[in-house]
């Protein structure tokens, strides 16, 4: 062939130009909406070694999809074969076309895509046969992924299984064209192979089965359809969920450079919204879906509605903020921050009326440890009493700052979007703590702990009592004995997924009792249901979620349920005949003099 252009490539070429044009336009527009700090952090890190982990993560997550594979092998294979297989197909195809000598020395970019149409002779350069075989293999690899996707679609539908994500129109378009691309490629290459015998092991095998008459009639049509399928996919991509392919990679770089979600929506949020592949991994384990059958509020729908500007406030509100979805999300989107941003938009964020706190006086506690029980611990006096005993036994001087009455830490207000009021409480508590000159703050409630750690600026260490007990045991300040109970530990959402504290509570329990595993624990632990995140579900619905969480703990038939949150404790005591104790209570009971 002496000319490397044919009109059938036009849909592909136009589609590709459109795609990259739109992507760049969107990316630039979003980037303009980054805030000052986000830009500063990019400027600081853009030319640093952080580049290396970013590239590595792009390969791992953008192409190999390791995180999905860890949750679900088949789903992982499907994503990997399509993403990684296709990327290799493009790269190897590009190498192949570059190595092929052309008459006029030109290598237009569509040559790699329609290689066999333009080059009919075999072996125009050394190693050409090997590359042809590799290309056939890669095509098969991608096709296996597409086949799985088709099966998954029909199978889960036929069996009415797992809520497959509900998609928008552009998604259907994009998906249909994506599914057509590779079968058409196989067909076109096979037809050409039938006529010119330039196929690889597989395309030639198929080509040999096709009558030459047929091949001669339909070769052109097939290549045209292939080009159309590509073009359609490219045009619908930026408006569909497939936008995640490129966006996820860009997002990984931003994240490595240190960009994070802010209090309000920024351009970075737009990247996160588009990086969601709508894989639906966040649906199945959401307690609202699993226990209550509420299936329009999960992160996938929440992000989708935000992206297409169809969001309703009820959706942002109907969420326990348990962060289970965030730990399941293979793209690691900061789902909780985005939901919080929507809640922050409430127009009823009025000033509080907290002047009654003005006459609460600080206490002179120089050199002491500050202990903050939190409102909820007042409902579980077992926890605060145990902590008092432990402080005394360990010979630690402490100040129980909310012994008689408790000023709320502000996180419950914060979670519901009352930022001004939360800030007023924060100011008051910060003043009290700073003026009292405590050396460290120990809290018993993970809700307080999270906000003291993340939203306060106290300049002293803030630790949860499980961390503190672990320190006391390790340093020998208190001595404990082992009891002979089988104990299961429930990870509170706010402590585990919220603050990443998984190790310390377990170490304490291992020193005092026989720790057995729950069915799902650590990052996969279940929400106790009676939390403060959701204001739309009622008590009976909360109880269902709680019962499921208790059920999950019963896996190894424990004698005792341990937790580290007053709220989880309150939730569980009414749902089981087993004793439910906080780690502080267990330690106190096992103190050895």
């Amino acid at each position: 062939m002496d000319n490397y252009f044919h009109p059938f490539v036009i849909p592909f070429v136009l589609g590709a130009i459109f795609l990259f044009g739109i992507c760049i336009w969107k990316y630039v527009r979003w980037f303009k909406h980054f805030d000052r700090l986000q830009r500063a952090v990019i400027r600081k890190n853009i030319f640093s070694w952080k580049f290396i982990p970013a590239v590595w993560e792009v390969i791992r997550e953008g192409l190999l999809h390791i995180r999905i594979s860890r949750k679900n092998l088949i789903l992982g294979y499907m994503h990997r074969s399509i993403a990684f297989g296709w990327a290799l197909l493009i790269i190897v195809g590009f190498v192949e076309s570059r190595l092929t000598p052309t008459i006029d020395g030109s290598h237009p970019f569509w040559m790699a895509i329609f290689y066999r149409f333009f080059f009919h002779s075999h072996g125009t350069f050394a190693g050409a046969h090997v590359l042809t075989a590799i290309m056939d293999f890669l095509l098969l690899y991608v096709l296996s992924g597409i086949l799985l996707a088709v099966i998954k679609k029909c199978y889960s539908k036929a069996l009415g299984m797992k809520k497959a994500t509900k998609h928008v129109v552009f998604d259907r378009f994009a998906k249909a064209s994506l599914w057509c691309i590779f079968p058409f490629r196989l067909l076109s290459e096979s037809l050409t192979a039938c006529i010119y015998h330039n196929g690889g092991f597989f395309t030639q095998f198929i080509g040999n089965l096709i009558p030459t008459e047929f091949a001669l009639t339909f070769e052109m049509t097939s290549w045209t359809l292939y080009s159309f399928a590509l073009g359609t996919f490219f045009v619908s991509l930026p408006f569909s969920r497939y936008m995640h392919i490129f966006t996820e990679m860009v997002l990984i770089f931003f994240r490595e450079w240190g960009v994070r979600e802010k209090h309000e929506r920024t351009g970075y949020t737009m990247y996160e919204l588009s990086a969601c592949s709508r894989c639906g991994m966040c649906i199945d384990n959401c307690p609202l879906n699993k226990e209550l059958g509420i299936n329009n509020v999960q992160s996938v729908y929440f992000l989708r509605d935000l992206r297409y500007k169809k969001n309703k406030p009820e959706i942002a509100d109907n969420c326990l903020m348990c962060a289970r979805c965030a730990s399941d999300c293979p793209v690691n989107i900061d789902l909780m921050a985005i939901r919080q941003q929507e809640r922050n938009k409430r127009n009823f964020d009025t000033e509080g009326n907290y002047h009654y706190l003005d006459n609460v006086q600080p206490f002179n506690a120089i050199g002491r440890i500050g202990y903050f029980g939190g409102c909820m611990s007042h409902l579980t006096p077992g926890i605060t009493e145990s902590m008092k005993t432990i402080f005394e036994v360990a010979g630690q001087r402490y100040w129980f700052m909310d012994e008689d009455r408790s000023i709320c830490c502000g996180r419950p207000l914060l979670q519901q979007g009352y930022n001004q009021q939360a800030a007023e409480l924060r100011r008051k508590l910060t003043e009290l703590i700073k003026k009292s000159k405590v050396t460290m703050l120990v809290t018993s409630c993970p809700i307080c702990y999270q906000t003291f750690k993340k939203d306060y600026k106290l300049n002293i260490p803030v630790i949860h009592h499980t961390e503190y007990l672990n320190m006391l045991i390790k340093s020998g300040l208190i001595k404990v004995r082992m009891d002979d109970l089988k104990t299961v530990y429930h990870d509170p959402c706010e402590l585990g997924r919220g603050c990443g504290i998984y190790k310390e509570p377990r170490q304490v329990l291992q020193a005092t009792t026989h720790l057995v595993k729950a069915k799902q624990e650590g990052e996969d632990s279940l929400c106790c249901g009676i939390n403060l995140g959701d204001t739309l579900i009622d008590i009976n619905q909360q109880k269902k979620i709680r019962d499921a969480a208790v059920e999950n703990l019963m896996h190894r038939k424990p004698d005792l349920i341990a937790t580290a949150c007053p709220m989880c404790k309150k939730a569980f005591v009414h749902s089981t005949t087993l004793p439910v104790k906080d780690i502080a209570e267990i330690v106190r009971e096992n103190l050895r003099s």
Binding site: Y356, H378, T535
Partner: protein, 109 residues
């Protein structure tokens, strides 16, 4: 006279026939559990804000029920939304959303 720290509530007469219950109905639509309250006062007894000042969430709820909205909005802003009341309510009232929605309804003209 010895000050016991409490006083007798002044006599009040509310003619319910002359009240406009739009706001109440609005609230009951959003949080149906509101109707279940037996005015036991457990919420007030445990309330964090109440430990510092005169703040009676049970009373606020019954005033709201009687359409006596005067000064309620400002009073409701004393609540710290800590959730203790919700946890102790024997009738399973979802008090935090009730408070949030009362604020919202009272602030909407």
């Amino acid at each position: 006279m010895i000050n016991f720290g409490y006083s007798i509530a002044p006599t009040r007469v509310v003619n319910l026939d002359n009240c406009d219950f739009d706001k109440l109905q609005q609230l009951e639509r959003i949080v149906p559990s509101f109707k279940r309250c037996i005015n036991c006062g457990a919420c007030t007894a445990t309330c964090s804000a109440q430990q510092f000042t005169h703040f009676n969430i049970r009373k606020i709820k019954s005033l709201f029920q009687e359409a006596q909205y005067e000064k309620l909005a400002k009073e409701l802003d004393k609540c710290m939304l800590c959730g203790k009341c919700t946890l102790v309510c024997p009738r399973g009232l979802n008090l935090r959303p009730i408070i949030m929605n009362m604020r919202k309804i009272l602030n909407t003209k």
